[in-house]
């Protein structure tokens, strides 16, 4: 939510995160190389560049699995959210490790010959070579890494950026093909296909579990069937104020529309879109901190009463008209333009005169 873009704005959490990423990469590579050269030594030694390419390639694949697992994990248990916070750095690191794998592999396998290594790599043989799948995946990861900065997110616009970043799934598919038609056709140990399969099942399972949970939540939220009260606006009853904890939100799914986050704060109710203007994080899973809705992913802030970020920031999200009748919360399903002020609906005191 910057007005000015810096390459990286460091803070303690990011540093610890990157330390773990870098430490993990170094530990993995070191152990792979050490074990690989101890197990196969002497006249059975594996050439070092090949061992290195294998260490880098498996490392990048493992990292991609982790990067893909973090999102659903954080939806299932929000204590994983700090891992989402700096996921961009994990993605960039994954690209860099994958790129190093490609440089070593292409340099060694396609270098030293009568063709330029890249020409040799790209000369089409009779069948699509496995290297091309890896190259495709790497190209996608490169574009993602290069555009991961908020500057690009802003320049490309939310939905183009989102689609670009959903292409991480085709990249994953390409990498599976790359391994399937390359390494797995050369290696004989069953461990490799088993590990690849377990990774695939785990990722698919996590995504399905998250998807199903979200579906269930979307379908179940309205206690009474969405009763449309006949008033000047087609108000929708989204539940009772008592369902919403103080400073937190209830997420409401309205058919055919973006989800709405209905926040309770300072004895009032405000409704805004559930979609963060940054990277579409789920605002309804955020919290009101210091009077601002704070996104659970990277902490962008919006005032509940008008959907605007506090100055000097200029981000805006859509708001919804809202009112409270008795203990029921009614919202207008049609969003107002981003940044439109809406007076929070007052919650009437619970204890009316008991008489």
């Amino acid at each position: 939510m910057s007005v000015k873009y810096a390459p990286v704005k460091w803070n303690r959490n990011k540093k610890v995160y990157d330390l773990f990423v870098a430490g993990g990469i170094v530990a993995y590579l070191a152990v792979f190389l050490a074990v690989g050269s101890a197990v196969w030594a002497g006249e059975h030694a594996i050439s070092f560049p090949i061992l290195l390419a294998r260490a880098l390639g498996t490392c990048a694949l493992v990292m991609l699995h982790i990067a893909l697992a973090i999102g659903p994990l954080a939806r299932l248990d929000r204590r994983f959210l700090p891992l989402v916070y700096n996921r961009r750095h994990l993605g960039v690191a994954t690209f860099l490790v994958g790129f190093a794998h490609a440089v070593v592999g292409v340099g060694y396998y396609h270098g030293f010959g009568l063709l330029n290594p890249l020409v040799s790599l790209l000369t089409p043989p009779d069948r699509v070579p496995f290297e091309w799948f890896g190259l495709g995946a790497l190209a996608i990861l490169f574009v993602m890494a290069a555009t991961s900065h908020d500057f690009w997110q802003k320049t490309l616009g939310g939905s183009a950026w989102k689609w670009l970043h959903i292409s991480v799934y085709p990249a994953y598919a390409l990498l599976v093909a790359h391994v399937l038609f390359g390494a797995l056709r050369s290696e004989t140990n069953l461990l490799y296909p088993v590990v690849l399969g377990v990774g695939f099942v785990a990722l698919t399972g996590l995504h399905l579990a998250t998807g199903l949970r979200e579906r269930r939540r979307d379908e179940a939220p309205l206690p009474s069937q969405p009763v449309r009260v006949a008033l000047e606006v087609a108000w929708v009853d989204v539940g009772s104020v008592d369902e919403i904890p103080e400073n937190r939100a209830k997420v409401v799914a309205l058919p055919g529309r973006e989800r709405v986050a209905v926040f309770r704060h300072a004895n009032g109710i405000s409704a805004v879109t559930n979609v963060c203007a940054h990277q579409r994080g789920p605002l309804g899973e955020g919290k009101i901190v210091d009077g601002c809705i704070t996104c659970p992913w990277h902490g962008w802030e919006y005032r509940p009463e008008d959907g605007c970020s506090p100055p000097p920031f200029q981000e805006k999200i859509a708001t919804h008209r809202v009112k409270v009748v008795g203990r029921r919360v009614l919202i207008d399903p049609d969003p107002l333009p981003p940044g439109t002020p809406v007076e929070p609906a007052k919650i009437e005191e619970e204890c009316h005169a008991a008489t």
């Binding site: 430490g23 294998r54 498996t58 700090p82 396998y109 396609h110 010959g113 390359g182 056709r185 461990l191």
Partner: protein, 250 residues
């Protein structure tokens, strides 16, 4: 009183200190993850296939013998022990290139070659050093020359064999492993550069030198099949100590 509200509903914001509940959960999770990955890396490294027994010497080796350039550059050199049979050593250049061009002027003549020795089991190859040092004409008494000359091939008739076409330089020890699907791009480049093709027969493990049906260099249309599991039909022969498969079909 500490703020009870913070404890009841902790919320992580990137630029603030991580709430204790998150840190207490994530610290063991991330440490366990890094530990698991490290162990995983060890297991993946351990499970790699053996690259085979090839070696590539650091020190230079020198031979004197009779050089031939058809179908590929090779030299016939004296046996290790007196009374043994002469040995055939395939010749290649540095990088992914055959040595036919350099040897051509000396075809059938005595030469002295020097370079680094690549060897797998009893199959030998020399990567020639650059310049005159690598290959130059040599004097050899007529009797020794006669002992080193090729003898007529001994034929074993038609065969159909299953196995893998490989480039000799990598497979014999320049790159390890020097075969298989991941190595295919490299092997194609080697064969295009004139490195002699070999055929690693699956059942017998025999390494055949591959030629076309007339004993000339292998048809380049077969280069694309290198690294694959293929079946080759042809005629098997022994050229002295060198098993040869003269391929008649793909």
């Amino acid at each position: 009183m500490p703020q009870p509200e913070v404890d009841r509903d902790p919320f992580f914001i990137g630029w603030l200190k991580m709430p204790r509940a998150y840190a207490r959960f994530l610290a063991p999770v991330t440490f366990a993850l890094v530990a698991a990955l490290t162990i995983g890396g060890a297991v993946l490294a351990w499970a790699q296939r053996s690259p085979g027994p090839g070696t590539w010497d650091d020190a230079a080796t020198t031979f004197t013998g009779i050089v031939y350039t058809e179908p590929y550059a090779m030299i016939r050199v004296p046996p290790v022990e007196p009374g043994g049979a002469p040995r055939t050593v395939l010749l290649v250049e540095e990088g992914k290139f055959g040595a036919k061009e350099r040897a051509r002027a000396h075809d059938g003549q005595p030469v002295r070659v020097s370079g680094t020795l690549i060897a797998r089991d009893s199959r030998l190859m020399l990567e020639l050093a650059a310049g005159e040092d690598g290959l130059r004409a040599a004097e050899l008494p007529e009797a020794e020359q006669a002992a080193l000359r090729r003898t007529p091939p001994r034929g074993h008739g038609p065969v159909t064999l299953r196995g893998e076409i490989v480039d000799s330089k990598c497979y014999l020890g320049a790159m390890k492993p020097g075969g298989g699907r991941t190595h295919k791009g490299c092997a194609v480049l080697c064969l295009k550069g004139g490195v002699p093709p070999l055929f690693a027969a699956r059942d017998s493990g025999t390494l055949y030198l591959l030629t076309n049906a007339r004993g000339r260099p292998l048809d380049p249309s077969l280069f694309d099949r290198v690294g694959d599991d293929v079946r080759l039909e042809g005629v098997s022969e022994d050229w002295d100590d060198l098993p040869v498969l003269k391929v008649s079909s793909r």
